[in-house]
């Protein structure tokens, strides 16, 4: 791809205005697939460069009110066309995130979006309030993505994020404390109408939505007949997801017109352009970022180089 297609409705090489913020670019990394945006900083390629080059934002691993140790291994399983994960939201908790991680991201100038999860709307408000207080002056903190859709936790998780009213209340609770930051709700595809969830997020005050989180998936070990993941089912991501993610983004854009950050199966500039074609304003790279730390940076570079 050396030339950008002329059907593009906007120039995806420019910065992105989303709610009150301007993001430096439209290629982001997806939550949970690039840690807290700290690891990988010392990685290089033969041509030099860093995995952070040209990124519009790093969406950090979802943090919860308290630290979580996550699910027992194995937590990851490759299938023929994608990946299953059952990390179980292992994370350092909001306090350490705010105290130890945000300052480093800020010092390094990494544009980031903090992903937050909780099990009740009030807790989302609380998380947002605490983060806003701790990171008040952080110039590179562009916004918050509410993870309303993690399939790998027993309480809350995906069921929680399937109810439009709950989505609206979670978003509204967080919105209150996030003046000046972009607020996104990350939605699950394991639902009938994702557009209804998006509309609910907008009513709650979201500046846009992120779609999609993982599908529910499973694999079986034929030697034992048992599920490969100890918790049986997990989150399905990777190349197999692309057509599903595109359809869900399209559904939201067509039915609500909201700004959508697309995610699911993106590995190349071509994949990203498909999301732009259906109206996504930015694109996240998830599973591909795990197999190649430079995946998102390479998409951003290819986009920048396209004439």
């Amino acid at each position: 791809m050396t030339k950008l297609p002329d059907w593009l409705a906007f120039d995806p090489r420019g910065p992105l205005r989303l709610g009150p913020r301007t993001f430096p670019g439209r290629i982001w990394t997806a939550s949970g697939c690039f840690g807290y945006g700290l690891d990988g900083a010392d990685l290089g390629t033969a041509g030099g460069g860093s995995p952070f080059d040209g990124l519009g934002a790093v969406v950090t691993k979802t943090v919860t009110p308290q630290a979580r140790r996550g699910n027992p291994p194995p937590r990851l399983w490759e299938t023929a066309h994608g990946a299953l994960n059952s990390i179980g939201l292992e994370n350092v908790g909001l306090a350490r995130f705010a105290d130890e991680i945000v300052p480093v991201l800020e010092a390094r100038g990494v544009p980031f979006v903090a992903s937050l999860a909780a099990t009740r709307p009030e807790e989302f408000g609380d998380l947002a309030r605490r983060l806003a207080a701790a990171a008040a002056g952080a110039a590179h903190w562009h916004g918050v993505e509410l993870n309303l859709s993690c399939p790998n936790v027993a309480e809350g998780g995906v069921d929680f994020g399937r109810d439009p009213e709950t989505v609206e209340r979670c978003v509204a609770a967080a919105r209150e404390h996030l003046a000046g930051r972009a607020l996104l709700a990350k939605l699950t595809p394991n639902v009938g109408s994702i557009a209804r969830l998006a509309a609910a997020a907008a009513r709650g005050g979201a500046d846009g939505v992120t779609a999609i989180n993982t599908l529910i998936g499973m694999d079986v070990d034929l030697r034992t007949g048992e599920p490969v993941l100890p918790r049986r089912r997990g989150g399905y991501s990777g190349p197999a997801l692309l057509p599903v993610a595109l359809a869900r983004v399209d559904e939201i854009v067509q039915e609500t017109g909201l700004p959508v950050v697309g995610v699911g199966g993106v590995a190349t500039l071509e994949d990203a352009l498909k999301f732009f074609a259906v109206g996504a304003v930015a694109v996240q790279v998830g599973t591909a970022q795990m197999s190649d730390p430079f995946a998102a940076a390479a998409v951003a570079a290819a986009l920048a180089a396209a004439g």
Binding site: G35, G40, L43, A46, P73, P74, R75, E90, S291
Partner: protein
């Protein structure tokens, strides 16, 4: 005792390259030589995340310990156990690859205490590399296999003692101890033998037995663990092993793969690898 945190190895790079050579070195092990874009260096115990490039790429790279590096040539030993390793074997010379390397915390360089090297199966390469770089005559090197034919004898110099669960003939002409590699070590270092620092690499039962031996004797023990990996560079939390002291987890790829045996919670350690 800590695995080398201040490794002198350079930071990891993602390098492109091709398969330069691929050949069987025992009944079950194969050697893979890569030709990469740039020269690489590593510390024994470190690994790479290797993937085929292009249409045959796997969703995730696969972790392989580094055996040797010379200029732009990087060598591994591997066993075909599933889809990924089968695809590597079938890819053929010239096939394009990507390689993120060197990754993880290596086995530390030796101090004055003698080392007991315990290597089993695909746990051989890091300890072969360690012995080559830092081995001294007083270190005891033990390599174990299933039947003896699966040991890559051409790569194991005369300093190595061999064991096999069910010894076959003696194709290499070298005595093979009947039993597992920890039993071999026990037979060579009976109770009261001088203290050794154990370096162990292999399947979980081997690591568990090695840690047990060290614990009994009050020796230091470093183990290199195997876990399914997604990223290899610390971002996905997919490769965790149970940490001692709390009920949390450490990552095999970044906190390890080499751990002080006391840093791991062996009671919670298990799952698929335990079979």
């Amino acid at each position: 005792m800590n695995p080398s945190a201040d490794a002198t190895a350079p930071p990891a790079r993602r390098l492109r390259g091709t398969i330069a050579d691929e050949t069987a070195v025992s009944s079950s092990m194969r050697r893979l030589d890569l030709e990469l874009e740039e020269p690489v260096a590593f510390q024994p115990g470190q690994f790479c995340m290797l993937n085929l490039a292009g249409e045959r790429a796997l969703v995730f790279g696969r972790p392989f310990s580094l055996l040797a590096a010379s200029g732009r040539r990087l060598s591994l030993l591997y066993k075909v156990v599933g889809r990924g390793t089968a695809r590597l074997r079938d890819a053929g010379a010239g096939a394009p690859v990507t390689c993120l390397t060197p990754l993880g915390r290596p086995f530390p360089a030796p101090d004055e205490r003698p080392r007991l090297l315990l290597a089993g199966g695909v746990g051989l390469p890091p300890l072969i590399a360690w012995a080559e770089r830092w081995g001294r005559p007083r270190d005891l090197r033990c390599a174990g296999g299933r039947d003896g034919d699966d040991l890559p004898r051409g790569l194991l110099g005369p300093g190595w003692r061999l064991s096999a669960d069910r010894p076959a003939g003696e194709p290499g002409g070298r005595a093979v101890f009947a039993g597992n590699v920890v039993e071999l070590a026990r037979s060579l270092l009976p109770a009261g033998a001088p203290a050794h620092v154990v370096l162990a690499c292999g399947p979980l039962p081997l690591l568990r037995a090695a840690a047990g031996l060290a614990d009994e004797r009050g020796w230091d023990c470093l183990v290199s663990v195997e876990e399914r990996m997604g990223c290899g560079y610390g971002v996905c939390r997919g490769c965790v092993v149970p940490r001692a002291g709390d009920d949390g987890y450490a990552t095999a790829c970044k906190d390890g793969p080499v751990f002080d045996a006391r840093a791991l919670d062996w009671a919670r350690f298990g799952g698929e690898g335990a079979a």
